[in-house]
């Protein structure tokens, strides 16, 4: 397993290099610069600023020195938050975003798996159509629509839950988690329905029935493990997607997370911040994909033994 993981991490190096290079080229080719917005700045001041952040050097030199810094784990200073480094800014928002992502993931897995498994037990009946129609709606509904809708219903109309904030009033984490998790719950529901249907049609499920096992045991012991493999494979990209895609939810509910920096950095042409967050998310996506692949291997006895045999 260790060799498998190390091999995959080595593969990540060229991927990250491509991500850095592409992002670097893109942000620098976008019109404007970090100091061109806002009010007009005197020429000398602009030059001094550019010199301070090495923006006066040729592009390839900036690229090389940036690569060198990143290699040492330094993402450079932020252009828009003077005196603060990108590392610092990312760290400050990461905790909140990770917590939000985790709750959203729990919502997604819990609702998604239950809905999917329920639907798969009686395909093409109401027990299948109702959760799957709901899932379809869940996939189609963007979070910037679902968020305000939930706020209107549960926050303003029913006055059950706080409408915004994070960690200030008890219960203020519920709506953001649901808003962020719903789309993924819907996707997981469809994946687990498909996976379960596939497994439930296998010969060995018939064997289990013929043995006289109860329907509960057949589902929970014989079918779930194989049926949820597609879900497990999806968890890695999903979690990375949750973290990266949280900015809409963070904006709706005024949450001081990472997503906010990401969007603002793009508007501000905050070169180092854009690059830093992009590289950070790319690393996360690679890591979580690796984790979910390892989990999928572990769930399959045949693969597990092969990997262990190395």
């Amino acid at each position: 397993m260790l060799r498998f993981a190390l091999g995959r991490l080595l593969q990540a190096i060229p991927v990250l290099l491509v991500v850095i290079t592409m992002t670097f080229m893109l942000v620098h080719s976008a019109p404007g610069g970090p100091f061109s917005a806002d009010k007009a700045v005197p020429e000398e001041v602009l030059e001094a600023l550019e010199a301070q952040y090495n923006l006066d050097q040729p592009l390839w030199q900036q690229y090389i020195s940036y690569l060198g810094d990143v290699l040492q784990g330094d993402m450079g200073p932020s252009f828009k938050y003077p005196g603060r480094s990108v590392n610092e800014l990312i760290l400050s928002g990461l905790g909140t975003t990770a917590e939000l992502g985790m709750y959203a993931m729990m919502v997604a897995i819990f609702i998604g798996v239950i809905a999917g498994v329920t639907a798969s037990m009686r395909p093409n009946t109401a027990q299948d159509y109702v959760p799957m129609t709901a899932a379809m709606i869940g996939i189609c509904m963007p979070s910037f629509l679902l968020g305000p809708l939930l706020v209107l219903i549960f926050g303003i109309h029913l006055e059950w839950l706080p409408v915004s904030g994070w960690n200030q009033i008890p219960g203020d984490k519920i709506l953001p988690a649901i808003t962020l998790g719903t789309g993924y719950a819907a996707y997981i529901a469809r994946l687990s329905r498909g996976g379960m249907l596939e497994v439930l049609s296998q010969d060995y499920i018939r064997t289990a029935r013929a043995k006289g096992l109860s329907e509960f045991l057949i589902i929970s012991k014989h079918a779930l493990r194989g049926g949820l493999i597609p879900v497990v494979a999806f968890l890695g990209p999903a979690f990375a997607g949750l973290l990266g895609g949280s900015f809409v939810v963070e904006t709706i509910y005024q949450i001081p997370g990472l997503g906010r920096f990401y969007v603002q950095a793009a508007f501000n042409r905050d070169y180092t911040m854009i690059l830093g967050t992009t590289v950070f998310f790319a690393t996360l996506i690679i890591l979580f994909n690796l984790l979910s692949d390892m989990l999928a291997v572990w769930l399959n006895p045949k693969l597990r033994q092969q990997v262990r045999g190395e």
Binding site: Y204, T207, K211, S214, G226, L299, N300, V307
Partner: protein, 544 residues
């Protein structure tokens, strides 16, 4: 004495989108304790559906039981509620399925699956704890012939061979000491020598336990030795039932007669057309594959040092069990598999080492018929397109003559011309194999390699296709390498036979000579294991 299971007027219908299918129509039979009933029929005859309906294992919908009773020990299986049914399953009535590769859960250890009927027994008072159940399971594994059973208890299904998995399935079925054992084609997926062992085992266990057995099979040879009674089914209807000897020796039913007659028996009746000239010469051929799936790079020596000649005009049989490398050898001769060493010479020209482009004109002269007519025909091409493609590609026909030539081909293989614009799925298995044969002979080849061309077909269809092949060989002056695991089929069709075992050609000779005087032990065992549709000789063999 009342029968243990008494099925009367069973009717099972499938309500599908394409209309009503009467899968089982008014079938009655009974089994007593200690007795074996064989249900025999071709695919689609309703034999499996009959038995699945007894244990409520059919998907409903589309299946629906429309009528009848199935009294098991005084209770009707068809009307009992779910809890009662769970009680019957595994406890009173157990089942062994056809494919041991897919019938065991790949995610759970064999031991875990074995003890489930004990630790989750529907009757709470009879539940056992894991430790007791494990002892019982190991004892049974020993009984069905699994060596090292204590260690094997924690193995996963993929660590067992097909035959061993079927033994595990049998142990699992017997673990609650059922009174009725239903075997659904338990040996169809297995090699002939393994099949003989499993049949022996089932017979033996039945004797020691006095359990009733329903044995489903499409192969009359397989049931000849073990059945007391036989029920012959066709299209959901019971054609005939009675004592085994009566069915085999004095049948009055035309369909049963046809089934018995279709079993290939005895030597080839057509003359050996072999000429002295060698069409194919293979010397010291090796085909090795790199297998990356394991922890270490594994070299699979699929074909090892094979040397053979095929004379112009002869039908050379190639027999071997699954994994023996016979298909790879066939594909290597056609240069469809990359050869590692050795040479293949066709009509005096060496093919090994030739570039793919240079091989094209040679491909016209050598064709292949594949095993599975469902998988080897492109589902998006009509019969016309399938047959016209090689004709046009090799310049045998042009746009003006192609229709006529395709029609000629369809006449040759016995397909109605009117079916020319149909797609493969609109044909039955036998008709599809006719299309595949038509495609192979389209280019007027000299050599045809037929890789198990009849093993996916029912026995009556198989007989027709075999006769078609013999006829075409005669008419088109073909040379053929006929690959099969079925020794009776090979004997019926070939002039000379090669025996392959673990990638090595271990024996060859004229067919009848080899049958009479096999030299190698492996060949002897192989020949001994062939089940014959003759109850008397089969019983004698099983009891020996």
């Amino acid at each position: 004495m009342a029968a243990l299971l008494d099925v009367k007027n069973l009717k099972v219908h499938f309500h599908t989108r394409n209309g009503l299918v009467k899968a089982v129509d008014d079938v009655s039979f009974s089994v007593n304790a200690g007795e074996t009933l064989a249900i025999v029929g071709e695919s689609g005859s309703g034999k499996s559906v009959t038995c699945y309906s007894l244990l409520d294992l059919l998907p409903k919908p589309p299946a629906k039981i429309e009528g009848g009773t199935a009294m098991f020990d005084g209770e009707d299986l068809l009307t009992c509620d779910k809890d009662r049914m769970r009680h019957f399953r595994g406890n009173d009535i157990a089942m062994i399925f056809q494919d041991p590769m897919t019938s065991l859960n790949p995610n759970l250890t064999v031991g875990e699956q074995l003890i489930e009927p004990l630790i989750y027994h529907p009757d709470k008072a009879r539940r056992q704890d894991r430790a007791t159940a494990k002892l019982r399971a190991i004892e049974l594994l020993n009984e069905v012939g699994i060596v090292n059973s204590e260690r094997r208890f924690d193995s996963y299904p993929h660590e067992f061979s097909g035959g061993m998995r079927q033994r595990v399935m049998i142990a699992m079925a017997l673990i609650n000491e059922p009174r009725l054992l239903i075997c659904d084609e338990p040996t169809t997926a297995l090699d002939v020598t393994i099949q003989a062992q499993i049949l022996d085992l089932i017979k033996q266990l039945q004797k020691s336990r006095d359990v009733a057995v329903i044995f489903i099979s499409h192969d009359l040879g397989v049931v000849a030795g073990i059945a007391d009674k036989v029920l012959v089914m066709c299209n959901g209807v019971a054609m005939e039932s009675g004592d085994t000897d009566k069915i085999f020796y004095h049948t009055e039913n035309d369909y049963t007669r046809r089934l018995l007659d279709a079993i290939p028996e005895g030597a080839k009746t057509m003359a050996n057309r072999a000429q002295s000239e060698n069409l194919v010469e293979v010397s010291n051929l090796r085909t090795w594959f790199k297998d990356f799936s394991g922890p270490k790079l594994n070299i699979v020596k699929a074909v090892e040092d094979a040397s053979l000649t095929i004379k112009r005009g002869e039908i050379l049989g190639l027999v071997g069990e699954s994994g023996s490398g016979k298909s790879t050898l066939g594909r290597s001769i056609l240069q469809l598999a990359p050869t590692t060493e050795g040479t293949v010479t066709f009509d005096g020209t060496q093919l090994t080492g030739m570039s793919p482009a240079k091989l094209v004109p040679w491909r016209r002269r050598m064709q292949m018929i594949f095993q599975d007519p469902y998988a080897s025909l492109n589902p998006r091409m009509t019969v016309f397109e399938t047959l016209a493609e090689p004709l046009l590609y090799h310049g045998i026909a042009d746009k003006n003559t192609v229709t006529e030539q395709v029609q000629q081909l369809m006449d040759d293989v016995g397909l109605a011309r009117g079916h020319m614009r149909k797609y493969p799925h609109e044909f039955s298995g036998g008709q599809r194999q006719r299309i595949a044969i038509g495609r192979a002979i389209a280019t007027k080849p000299e050599l045809i390699i037929a890789d198990e061309p009849v093993s996916a077909l029912d026995v009556t269809i198989q007989a027709q296709v075999l006769d078609l092949i013999l006829e075409l060989v005669e008419r088109h002056n073909l040379t053929m390498l006929f690959i099969s695991h079925d020794l009776s089929v090979v004997r019926y069709i070939s002039d000379r036979v090669l025996v392959m075992h673990h990638g090595v050609l271990i024996e060859q000779g004229d067919t009848e000579h080899l049958w009479a005087n096999p030299q190698q032990d492996y060949t002897k065992n192989l020949l001994k294991a062939i089940p014959l549709a003759d109850p008397k000789s089969e019983r004698a063999r099983l009891s020996s």
